[in-house]
């Protein structure tokens, strides 16, 4: 499963990073970025999709459902 976050839609509610901080990382403005191995993918485009480790799959799906702006995109789910 891979995920990406639309930073233009993210309003910094940060519940994703509380649920799964290994995959969702906040920048200084409180906007969420998808991360691999704790490193946020800020390159944009298709490079912004982060692979989700299987152990975090349930937490990521939970975060997707909780995000108020629904700004998290799932691939291969």
């Amino acid at each position: 499963m891979r995920i990406s976050i639309n930073q233009a839609a993210c309003q910094g509610d940060c519940i994703c990073s509380v649920i799964c901080p290994e995959v969702f990382v906040l920048d200084d403005a409180g906007i969420a970025w998808a991360a691999e191995n704790g490193v946020p993918l800020t390159r944009g485009g298709s490079d912004s999709f982060a692979n989700v480790p299987s152990e975090h799959r349930d937490d990521v799906l939970d975060a997707v459902g909780q995000c108020p702006t629904q700004c998290i995109t799932l691939l291969d789910s």
Partner: protein, 126 residues
Amino acid sequence: MADTAFGTLHDGQRISVTIRRTPPAPETETFEVEVLGGMSVFNVLERIRDNLDPSLAVPISCRIGKCDICFVKVNGKVRWACTEPATDGMLVEPAPRYPVLKDLVVDLDKRIKGGSDSDADGGDAA
């Protein structure tokens, strides 16, 4: 029992709520509280604090899901207390990975780096 638009409680129902607390309160404390239909977890916590135990520390909240700071764990899932429907028998714990100040109140400025869920009651703050 008829479901309401928000949750499954009905007026006058008595529910059991277990809360993970900090000393000198017991580690977990269970309250029996009378609720109204459609109450959120935050509404129930407020009711417990106002009517049963004024020493219970509850996160502040805008009550409408806007301020994003009333994080708690409800039955093991991180949720905003003000937008999560209350249920009978629910377990409410402080948000994980933050140092707990008292009961359900955590220090949102100090996330515990690399912390696990079990670190919710302490640990080195970042």
